[in-house]
């Protein structure tokens, strides 16, 4: 038994290929048999991944979901940012440059609106919970943008570590919620064409959430959403600790 586990651990990435293949296969069967193709197989597989991550996290006590279990360590490589971004870039092969050019300025506008709206939403929730200092409000608001903007902003303006942890958690919740909700909400917000996918990517911003949510909705939309979303975190890191923090500081002076 120990020999087998050591072997699987040593070949982590290949084992991950095998296991993800199995997850996809089972999800396809569930999608066809149980939901009559109503829920796409990819959505079921992604949800399955999240469930695995939850139990992996509880079992190991770590932060990287299922990858903290030695048997599943290859998931960390396969699902890491390098492979993810590499694969996202490759989806551009089927994308139309014309559409991207046409929607370009709306995409940029949606980035700004998305960051400010997310920020304000996060600030409003933090206010409800009794935070009144500009630093904590800004950090939680930044966490509502993405789980990278939160800690970057918090570190820049000197937030306490529990508020930083909270902002990361908010960002992770956001990514997961977008992943799960997108395929269900897509029809009612007209998310079925490249234009709205670019707007969607700019408004939501969190690359993992947008890319997984669009993949579960319609893989053809992924490159458009990813194109705008990729600017979100950088822009958020730029304006959260600066303009938005100053704004918070004016409204809530210490």
């Amino acid at each position: 038994m120990e020999i087998i586990i050591r072997f699987l651990e040593k070949n982590g990435l290949v084992v991950a290929f095998l296991l993800v293949g199995l997850i996809m296969y089972v999800s396809t069967i569930i999608s066809i048999r149980l939901t009559n193709r109503k829920i796409p197989a990819s959505a079921i597989a992604i949800l399955g991944g999240l469930v695995l991550a939850y139990f992996g996290g509880i079992y190991s006590g770590g932060e990287k979901g299922v990858a903290d279990l030695k048997l599943f360590s290859g998931f960390g490589i396969m699902g890491g940012s390098m492979f993810r971004d590499f694969a996202i870039v490759s989806t551009a092969m089927g994308a139309s440059f014309l559409v991207m050019k046409q929607t370009g300025w709306v995409g940029a506008l949606s980035l700004l609106i998305g960051i400010v709206l997310s920020f304000l939403g996060g600030v409003a929730v933090a206010l409800l919970w009794g935070y009144t200092d500009a630093v904590s409000l800004t950090t939680i608001g930044a966490g509502a943008c993405t789980y990278i903007v939160g800690p970057v902003t918090g570190a820049a303006i000197g937030a306490s570590s529990d508020v930083m942890a909270l902002s990361i958690a908010a960002g992770v919740v956001k990514a997961i919620f977008i992943t799960i909700a997108t395929p269900f909400i897509a029809p009612s917000i007209g998310l079925n064409n490249p234009h709205s996918a670019m707007v969607f990517g700019g408004l939501m911003g969190t690359t993992s959430g947008v890319s997984a949510g669009l993949a579960a909705t319609d893989p053809k939309l992924v490159p458009y959403g990813a194109l705008t979303a990729t600017f979100y975190t950088g822009l958020g890191c730029l304006i959260c600790p600066s303009v938005l923090y100053l704004l918070m500081h004016l409204i809530f002076p210490a």
Binding site: I46, F86, A87, M93, A170, V172, K174, G190, H195
Partner: protein, 131 residues
């Protein structure tokens, strides 16, 4: 050759991500600004240029298409390494701070989509929703 396709993709990835890192450094923030986006644009342009010159054969193309088909499995692996535990267990404030902004933004998607001039559907090519 298949490896040519993979190498072209890798070239776009490296160049784009480097540009994103550099842009982040130039505006003084510790984050990659648009790296993936630059890489995607580069791939689109390069692909166009190679097709026009007839340098892109089936195998080379396959080296790129393979990765775009691996995309969903990679996303599944990615979702399996998210810190779901912390998201579920960190209480109501984190849940709300994550969900409220999403709902706010979702509501504005149709509004902003209408701003970009809608085109007849067939100009985007045929549209096949996946099963």
């Amino acid at each position: 050759m298949t490896i040519y396709g993979v190498a072209i993709l890798a070239f776009c990835y490296v160049t784009g991500q480097l540009a994103g890192e550099l842009l982040g450094y130039l505006i003084g923030i510790d984050a990659n600004v648009g790296g993936v986006g630059f890489a995607m644009l580069l791939l689109i342009l390069l692909n166009d240029w190679l097709i026009k010159r007839d340098h892109l054969d089936k195998l080379t193309e396959g080296g790129i298409l393979f990765w775009s088909q691996m995309y969903i499995p990679i996303v599944v692996a990615m979702s399996a390494v998210q810190n779901v535990k912390v998201a579920v267990s960190s209480g109501f404030i984190a849940l709300l701070a994550g969900i409220v902004p999403v709902l706010l933004c979702l509501a504005t998607v149709p509004l902003l989509s209408r701003l970009s001039k809608p085109k007849p559907v067939d100009q985007d090519g045929d549209y096949y929703p996946i099963s």
